[in-house]
């Protein structure tokens, strides 16, 4: 009894250590990611240039003022640390290209991207799970070949092409996100389920006449859940990556389109904030998937 209690406490300790480790890693990665992004933008050709200086109406004083504003962020370490201090007080700075507070820009654009990613990921997971499960159940080589061709074809298409097709066919951007993420999740889920369904105890359960639903929920789901959660974490990063071309090409005013605009305009404050936000979301998704996976594996053990 005492041994069981000690073992449970050990597990909890280990879980807490894991969560603390994840949080520390998350903080360090976010801070480093922000600095890296700021450095890359600063070193990018054209950082110092402002298109507005080409306006022949502007006089010399205005041109100098524009150039001066650009040079304020020349010292990247100074920029980054002063940014962190201001961010600590809730001020994320002003976008140099759009002339608006970054905080307002993110707040206005975030809901659309969250909706786009949510629906896109949901659709991709629904489609991938249904097809993978039916492939594992049916075990028909022709069905396998067909789904492989579809997912392989989608895998070969660049994200931008899928985005353009969705524009052409007047489909919502979330469909493009779903089709971009689907082949990745489908291949993994398919391989995993086929492998599980060929395990001896599943074969024995089927031979003894247990219903497919019972087999699925009693013997398959508990085994695949930790790995599917890990995949879910990865698919969030994939969807975020896909949101940039999809939003930019479909003309959707979300964070992805904002990131694209910011990159083209070398908008340092906006890019640093978007990088930090995306890093944070990606790491949170991955860490959550990892922690939940560990908990499920622990329960299973």
């Amino acid at each position: 009894m005492f041994w069981l209690k000690a073992q449970r406490e050990n597990k909890m300790h280990s879980l807490h250590r894991k969560i603390a480790g994840h949080l520390l890693a998350l903080l360090a990665t976010v801070l480093f990611g922000g600095l890296l992004s700021a450095t890359l933008v600063r070193l990018a050709p054209g950082f110092d240039a402002d298109e507005r200086v080409l306006d022949p109406h502007l006089n010399a004083a205005s041109t100098h003022a524009l150039e001066g504003a650009r040079h304020r962020d020349d010292n990247i370490l100074y920029f980054y640390f002063s940014y962190l201090i201001r961010a600590g007080h809730g001020d994320l700075g002003n976008s140099s290209a759009l002339g608006q507070p970054v905080r307002a820009l993110l707040r206005e654009r975030l809901p659309l991207t969250v909706r786009l990613l949510g629906i896109g990921l949901g659709l991709s997971w629904l489609l991938a799970s249904m097809l993978a499960l039916s492939a594992a159940w049916l075990r028909l080589s022709i069905y396998d070949a067909m789904t492989t061709i579809v997912s392989g074809g989608l895998l070969c298409l660049p994200a931008a092409v899928l985005a353009l097709l969705s524009v052409l066919w007047n489909l919502p951007g979330s469909i493009a996100i779903a089709l971009i993420v689907f082949p990745h999740t489908y291949r993994y889920a398919h391989n995993l389920l086929v492998k599980i369904y060929s395990r001896p105890h599943i074969l024995a359960a089927r031979a003894r006449g247990l219903s497919e639903v019972r087999i699925l929920f009693r013997h398959v789901v508990p085994v695949v859940m930790p790995q599917m959660f890990a995949l879910a974490g990865v698919s969030v990063s994939m969807a975020i990556g896909a949101a940039i071309p999809v939003e930019a090409l479909c003309g959707l005013p979300g964070i992805g389109a904002l990131a694209w605009q910011a990159a083209l305009a070398r908008d340092l404050p906006l890019l640093v904030n978007i990088t930090i936000l995306v890093t944070l979301v990606t790491l949170l998704a991955n860490s959550s998937a990892d922690v939940i996976g560990s908990m499920l594996r622990g329960q299973e053990a």
Partner: protein, 548 residues
């Protein structure tokens, strides 16, 4: 009987004709008075501001045009100034002072009365040196304070520290702000007002209920209920939306889209002829530029630049790149600028032979198909332009091909816009550039920052302490002379000479003037696309939209 019958027929015919006339008149009147409806089109970038004095981007300029009330308006069709909020105006002989007599009984969109104090307030805000706006800088011909004097409740005069050439015309860009309205810059005097703004998505403009203008029949303008401006940077999406009927007009169309649309629905597209915009090539003549000295010597030779100009087949550029929707350019202004264009100018004739003769005068010679200079250096240079601009990329390739015919090897490099600007304005690390000049104004004074040798936008060799060549010194003198003269004919003579010098010296090798292409849905009535911006909705207050 016959007679009676004939009378009967005549009467019946008269009755029918009368009925038809009533119906037709009804339809015509219906069309003429059709009010309401929503006009929908795209802005290609996010408006950075709704403050009309701070406008420095196209989207904000479009909103200012539709919402701002101005004292004087440049009629985009006739290119003549017309009174708006000012009933009349007068510019003093020395060009320093302008006096306005204002219309009475006008109110801002929120009901705040429009007064001379609002004009004074707007001018003071506009001339604040800290504003750094293109609109304000256009008025700044010298340092010093701008004084406003309210002469009477309907009269105001504005005194500038020095003469401002084309002073009255500049007020076309100055939307009057309210000094007292709690809504600040959102209280407007134009035909529409901003009703809703969804960042990144759309701007909704609604009819200004207090707009002062009426049409010839005494009906209140504007006819439209609202204008929905979709923020859509992607031109492909814009085109698709227009084809689906989700948009009513495309203000500027490129030639490729124009032809695609014209082949399917010719009634939707409009080619208003050559616009004010030009595309040009120039060489780097900056002394400190990090390029080999012998190349800089080529670029600084007028003979070399003339030869390059003569070796470029502009007709081909127009025909192949712009599908015929462009004209070979002659000089700084296109023929579309009716007053200021120098009609005596002719586009350089395409002649590779003449180009080689001009080069021979500078010691260049052809050796085994390669042009070499006196020192034996093969003539080779790079042309950079902005990536993603298909027309410029294609022009660069055609120029590469043209110059190969006279033994010059050209490398075409495309860069994203910020990188290109950095090379052009800061590092000067380039040999030749193809870019365009967008002219939104007719007056040459607006191009002072291009033609003065000391200016930052004197692209081929900017910010010279003193003019490095006699012809640049002459241009400086002529530009200053035209800017300080109130006599339009004298100004014209001075600027004609500037145009002649530019054509002779070819610091900018002007390539083509694009035509003003647009698309307007058949649902829109009253549209008459013109070459001046905003091409399709310059008369927005008189447009009507059927079917919604």
């Amino acid at each position: 009987m016959k007679h009676r019958n004939g009378n009967f027929i005549t009467l019946a015919a008269l009755r029918d004709a009368f009925a038809v006339a009533i119906v037709c008149a009804g339809i015509m009147t219906g069309l003429a008075t059709a009010q309401g409806g929503q006009l929908r089109f795209c802005l290609h970038n996010e408006p950075k501001t709704f403050n009309p004095l701070q406008v420095d981007d196209d989207a904000a300029a479009s909103i200012r045009y539709l919402t701002g009330g101005v004292l004087i308006r440049l009629n985009r069709q006739t290119q003549q100034l017309e009174p708006e909020l000012a009933e009349s105006w007068k510019v003093s002989e020395d060009g320093r002072e302008i006096s306005f007599r204002l219309r009475s009984g006008i109110a801002f969109s929120d009901g705040t009365p429009f007064t001379t104090e609002d004009v004074a307030y707007t001018v003071q805000q506009l001339m604040d040196p800290a504003l750094h706006s293109p609109t304000g800088d256009s008025f700044r011909s010298a340092n010093g304070k701008v004084e406003t004097k309210v002469v009477s409740p309907s009269q105001i005069s504005i005194l500038f520290p020095a003469e401002v050439a084309g002073l009255d015309r500049l007020f076309d860009q100055v939307a009057i702000l309210s000094q007292n309205s709690p809504k600040k810059e959102m209280a407007v005097l134009g035909p529409f007002m901003v009703a809703d703004y969804k960042p990144g998505a759309s701007v909704l403009l609604q009819r200004n209920p207090n707009y002062w203008k009426r049409d010839e029949q005494g009906r209140r303008l504007p006819y439209l209920d609202s204008i929905l401006l979709n923020i859509q940077p992607n031109r492909d999406v814009e085109m698709l939306q227009f084809k689906r009927g989700e948009l009513d007009l495309i203000n500027t169309l490129d030639s490729e889209y124009f032809d695609k649309l014209a082949s399917a629905s010719p009634q939707l597209v409009h080619d208003a002829g050559p616009s004010l915009d030009s595309e040009q090539l120039w060489f780097n003549e900056v002394a400190k530029a990090p390029i080999p000295v012998y190349k800089r010597d080529w670029f600084r030779s007028a003979n070399f630049r003339r030869a390059i100009s003569e070796a470029i087949n502009r007709e081909d550029l127009s025909r192949i790149v712009y599908h015929g929707h462009a004209q070979p350019a002659m000089g700084p202004f296109s023929p579309a600028n009716k007053f200021w264009f120098d009609a005596a100018l002719k586009p350089p004739a395409y002649s590779p032979d003449k180009a080689l003769q001009a080069l021979a005068a500078d010691g260049f010679r052809l050796e085994n198909g390669t042009l070499k200079d006196r020192a034996g250096n093969a003539v080779e240079f790079s042309i950079i332009t902005n990536a993603g601009n298909k027309a410029r990329e294609r022009m660069a390739v055609l120029i590469q091909d043209d110059l190969q015919k006279i033994g010059i090897h050209v490398n075409v490099v495309t860069l994203d816009f910020p990188s290109l600007i950095e090379r052009m304005t800061q590092s000067f690390d380039y040999e030749a550039i193809i870019l365009g000049l967008t002219n939104v104004d007719l007056d040459p004074n607006e191009e002072m920052n291009v033609w003065l040798s000391s200016a930052a936008n004197h692209q081929w060799n900017p910010q010279q302490k003193t003019p490095e060549t006699p012809w640049e010194a002459e241009i400086d003198r002529l530009m200053r002379a035209q800017a300080s003269s109130g006599d339009a004919n004298k100004r014209k003579a001075a600027f004609d000479r500037v145009q002649e010098i530019v054509v002779d010296q070819q610091p900018f090798i002007f390539l083509i003037n694009k035509n003003a292409l647009s698309a307007v849905s058949t649902r829109v009535h009253g549209a008459a696309p013109v070459i001046l911006s905003p091409q399709t909705f310059w008369n927005a207050e008189r447009l009507t939209v059927s079917g919604n």
